[in-house]
């Protein structure tokens, strides 16, 4: 019920217990992952055997490879970062042009186009992955048959992963940026034009600063979504695995607490991004 109505004591207690239970449900898995990154045992399982940094720093005498010496894992973090940087750049650029197209452009079929742009969010990631995989191979084969060209980037690998992730993350960037552009007061632009500013100057001095929070926000979200994507990536991945695919493979085998150590690192990184974004949006308000 609502605060202005009397609530019986049992209902208050039940609500409090429910909230506590809900938060425990939310945070238990994360807390457990973080905790066992520091357990002095070869497997991430109870009992607690004491505190150690071995799973970060390594311990040759016990044959433990820590996160900072696990080149395979570090390499996959690097791969994920490269992919995420490419996807972010592409998505933010396309999101910006799409925002102007949808908010400023006047052309027949705009409504239909804006609905089609939402489609990538509705199509399951696995299907986006296989459709792009199949289409890219068809083009590669056609190029090979017709012109004898070997188009290596159309075979499973990082370029395809970037394209696959970009295909749906672009929609998210578009939504964020056009929502911001919609609230722009066009009189500001008109005033600048009346005062003799050129189109380019207006864009650079008025529109771009106005869009800045949305540009940064959509860049952060794009990076994070790309870094964490699994479904689409799994279908398109070649020899170099991004972090999620690498972790998935190791989790199936039953891995050491190094995975917990990576997870702690990921949690810290997401926390930094999240706090920056939250702080920024507070300030803008």
């Amino acid at each position: 019920m609502i605060p202005s109505l009397p609530r019986p004591a049992w209902l208050r207690t039940a609500t409090a217990m429910y909230i506590a239970g809900f938060l425990a449900f939310l945070f238990l898995p994360l807390a457990i992952v973080a905790l066992f990154a520091f357990n002095d045992a070869p497997y991430p399982a109870p009992p607690w055997r004491g505190f150690t940094f071995d799973w970060f720093l390594g311990n040759p005498s016990l044959g433990r490879v820590g996160l900072f010496a696990d080149h395979e894992l570090l390499g996959s973090i690097g791969t994920s970062c490269i992919v995420a940087a490419c996807v972010t750049g592409l998505s933010v650029c396309l999101g910006t042009t799409n925002a102007f197209l949808l908010e400023r452009g006047r052309f027949p079929g705009k409504q239909a186009l804006s609905v089609v742009m939402l489609a990538p969010l509705v199509i399951p990631g696995v299907i986006l992955g296989i459709s792009i995989l199949a289409f890219a191979s068809r083009i590669a084969e056609a190029a090979d048959d017709l012109f004898g060209l070997e188009l290596e980037f159309l075979r499973p690998g990082l370029p395809l992963v970037v394209l696959g992730q970009f295909s749906f993350i672009a929609t998210i960037a578009t939504l964020t940026l056009s929502a911001r552009l919609r609230r722009f007061d066009p009189t500001l632009e008109e005033a600048a034009l009346n005062l003799g500013a050129g189109r380019v100057a207006v864009f650079r001095t008025i529109l771009l600063p106005y869009l800045r929070p949305a540009l940064l926000g959509s860049a952060a979200i794009s990076f994070l979504m790309s870094f964490e994507d699994f479904n689409t990536t799994l279908m398109l991945v070649g020899a170099d695995s991004p972090l999620t695919v690498m972790m998935y493979g190791r989790m199936r085998e039953g891995a050491t607490p190094v995975l917990n150590a990576v997870s702690v690192f990921l949690m810290a990184a997401s926390a930094v991004v999240a706090l920056t974004l939250v702080g920024r949006s507070r300030r803008d308000r």
Binding site: I2, P29, A31, N98, I127, A134, F166, E228, M235, Y248
Partner: protein
């Protein structure tokens, strides 16, 4: 003068073209054409090396092989179950955040709900695995408490898959629910209460009708995400997961049977579309509005 006008119009058209081109390339090359190609792929059968004929064989195989359509139906049913459970679990917390918790406490609770979803699904699933597996935390705790004699395996059950799916989906239900509950005027509830309505009557006649758009939006998104999930069912369900996306992966990547995999992909897409359209029809909403809500 006439010339300048023509030049301006020409320039506007050029600008529109420059803005339109990237959007069309993106949608055409990465969304529309690949799906057309996938459709063509699913309607052909291999008759020899590099020779194919148009055929419905792939879809026939799906219906003739019980394993395939069992997994399909199972995935659909489990996804619906997971969606309903998510709604049940998310509704009270959304109510608390939107109505009960005053100002700062409410936004703090909301941020707390958001935090786990900034972390990768892989990490969250790893947490559940450490918690639930036979040598894990919960079985050890149960044995220590004397509930079970020896540690029991809590992974690889259907219930485990459901827990994982509900956990992963919560946020996508909480956000649309909160936004639709916040717009509900408290005085309506006060009035109903003054007129003698009980809690259940208020919920049924005022709250749920008002929150219907949010409920639909949340359910649709959660259902789609659950249906297309791969990580959670395969890791928490192990060999028993039998999730349809896993079948697609097997056909496409393991067996290299792209024709069958393409057909499976379209069946999944069809199921997802049918459910979304039904949901929208039942509640009389438009797709674009629902998507913008989330």
């Amino acid at each position: 003068m006439f010339d300048g006008e023509r030049q301006a119009r020409w320039r506007a058209r050029l600008a529109l073209g420059l803005l339109l081109a990237p959007a069309l390339i993106w949608l055409g090359a990465l969304i529309v054409l690949p799906h057309v190609d996938l459709a063509l792929l699913s309607f052909r059968a291999r008759v020899g090396p590099r020779s194919y004929v148009a055929s419905l064989a792939q879809y026939r195989t799906f219906f003739q092989e019980p394993l395939y359509w069992h997994v399909f139906v199972r995935t659909a049913v489990m996804s619906i179950l997971a969606t309903l459970l998510t709604l049940l679990l998310a509704f009270p917390i959304s109510w608390v955040i939107a109505k009960l918790a005053p100002g700062r406490a409410g936004s703090l609770l909301f941020v707390l709900c958001l935090i786990p979803f900034w972390v990768s699904e892989t990490v969250r699933t790893l947490g559940w695995m450490i918690l639930l597996r036979e040598s894990g935390v919960l079985p050890a705790l149960l044995t220590w408490l004397g509930v079970t004699q020896a540690p029991v395996e809590l992974l690889y059950h259907d219930a485990t898959i459901l827990v994982g799916l509900v956990y992963t989906s919560l946020l996508f239900m909480v956000i649309p629910l909160i936004s639709s509950l916040e717009s509900l005027d408290n005085s309506l509830i006060e009035a109903a209460c003054d007129l003698g309505a009980g809690g259940f009557a208020i919920l049924r006649t005022i709250v749920i009708p008002h929150a219907a758009p949010g409920i639909t939006a949340g359910c649709i998104v959660v259902f789609m995400l659950t249906l297309g999930n791969y990580l959670t069912p395969t890791l928490l369900g192990g060999k028993n997961s039998q999730w349809f996306t896993e079948q697609i992966y097997t056909q496409f990547i393991t067996r290299f049977n792209w024709e069958e995999g393409a057909a499976f992909g379209f069946l999944l897409l069809g199921l997802s579309t049918v459910m979304v359209v039904t949901g929208l029809k039942l509640t009389g909403q438009r797709f674009g509005d629902v998507m913008r809500r989330t």
